[in-house]
Amino acid sequence: MKLVINGDEHEVDAPVGASLAAVLRERLGLTGTKIACNEGHCGACTVMIDGVPVLSCITLAHSVEGEVTTIEGLRDHPLVDAFVRADAVQCGFCTPGQVVSAAALVAARPTPTEEEIRHAMAGNICRCGTYPKIEEAILHWRD
């Protein structure tokens, strides 16, 4: 199968049924994408396909048609710095997924309200409970 990830085309050999998350991590070494629940609940594995946040742990790699953006593709996004400034990270395991969801949000709404942030970020669980800091980071992402 062919996958376009962060602008680069990859030829990947994996059995049908393999998740996009597993292919990213195990075949392509893109370990920024995290797998936590591995059943579509927690959002740690969030990536974008054609700019839309999806859960890579329950996405079949062979069904991917669009361009995938992972956290590695958002290395230079101002949100990364905003998360650091707001101290929106504790253990950090959910952070890549949080940043991917937040990047899609600010692309659609550059100045989101608190309610819009809470609605758009509801699928990214943070077990450390850094939600107020994440909200702050997104509110001030361009500062």
Binding site: G17, G40, H41, T46, I58, L60, S63, A122
Partner: protein
């Protein structure tokens, strides 16, 4: 396992249909469903809204943001699942999702797994059914199905057109299935006539990203008001009227849902005015 990607209805020939995958992939992984052939139907199922017709391949995220969609359906989509799941999941797939009953998901030999008893009825059933629960106490999780039931939606499949209510059936000893779809039958479109007013209210364990404890959809048309509930029966549940809540048959630890349903029905009707 192989993955086929047909581009027309004519090419469909068996296999397990998959669209967004949010339900099928976890069920495959858990061994609850099995398949040699997966059939990605995204190239077959219409997507988008045209008048009152909604392609079954339209995602919940698209419906949530579409002002042409009746309020009850739009709100049901907005309150369903998480943003990522709404981006992935199709309308048709949402209607066909399986119960969240933990006994079923954990593969207890319950009646839906062709076993001999309902483990929830005698066990942990706080989130289970208050209607139609004497054979299987599972609760149908689809907010969207309740909204479409209140809106008296119709479903067009590859073989026929039926009222949404006819898509579902309560399981019994002779037939454990929860839908009336035949093997190989695929939902293509849903048709909804615009109501005079409609709404969807949902009680959840937390404010977002949760299955319904009780969801109440109400829609007023020239012909009267229809009320349908999510999370209260093995299938989406149509009430004969607000007083029908009193005919609930709760399990020992689901009686609280009757109170929630009563309150949400009252509020929904008040909203419709």
């Amino acid at each position: 396992m192989e993955l086929l990607r047909p581009s027309s209805v004519d090419e469909l020939d068996g296999g397990l249909f998959i669209h967004g995958g949010t339900e099928v992939v976890p069920l495959l992984r858990d061994g609850i469903v099995r398949a040699e052939t997966l059939v990605d139907v995204r190239g077959v199922v219409p997507r988008g809204v045209t008048g009152g017709r909604i392609g079954a391949g339209t995602t919940l995220a698209e419906l949530e943001a579409d002002a042409r969609v009746p309020d009850a359906l739009r709100e049901a989509c907005r309150l369903a699942a998480s943003p990522q799941l709404r981006n992935m999941s199709s309308l048709g797939g949402n209607l066909l999702q399986s119960t969240r009953c933990w006994y079923w998901r954990l593969k207890f030999p319950c009646r839906l797994h062709d076993g001999e008893r309902c483990h929830a009825a005698d066990g942990e059933h706080r989130e289970h059914a208050i209607f139609g629960n004497d054979y299987c106490a599972s609760a149908h999780p689809s907010d969207v199905a309740a909204a479409l039931l209140a809106l008296d939606g119709r479903v067009r499949t590859t073989r026929r057109e039926i009222a949404l209510a006819e898509l579902y059936r309560l399981p019994d000893e002779a037939d454990r299935r929860m839908t009336t779809l035949e093997p190989g039958e695929l939902i293509l479109e849903v048709e909804v006539q615009p109501p005079a007013a409609s709404t969807y209210l949902k009680a959840m364990d937390r404010k977002r990203w949760s299955f319904p404890q009780v969801g109440v959809a109400a829609a007023r048309t020239g012909g009267g008001t229809r009320i349908a509930l999510a999370g209260v029966a093995p299938v989406p549940w149509l009430l004969d009227g607000p007083e029908d809540v009193e005919r609930a048959t709760p399990l020992p630890r689901t009686a609280w849902k009757v109170d929630v349903a009563r309150a949400l029905v009252r509020r929904a009707l008040a909203e419709l005015g």
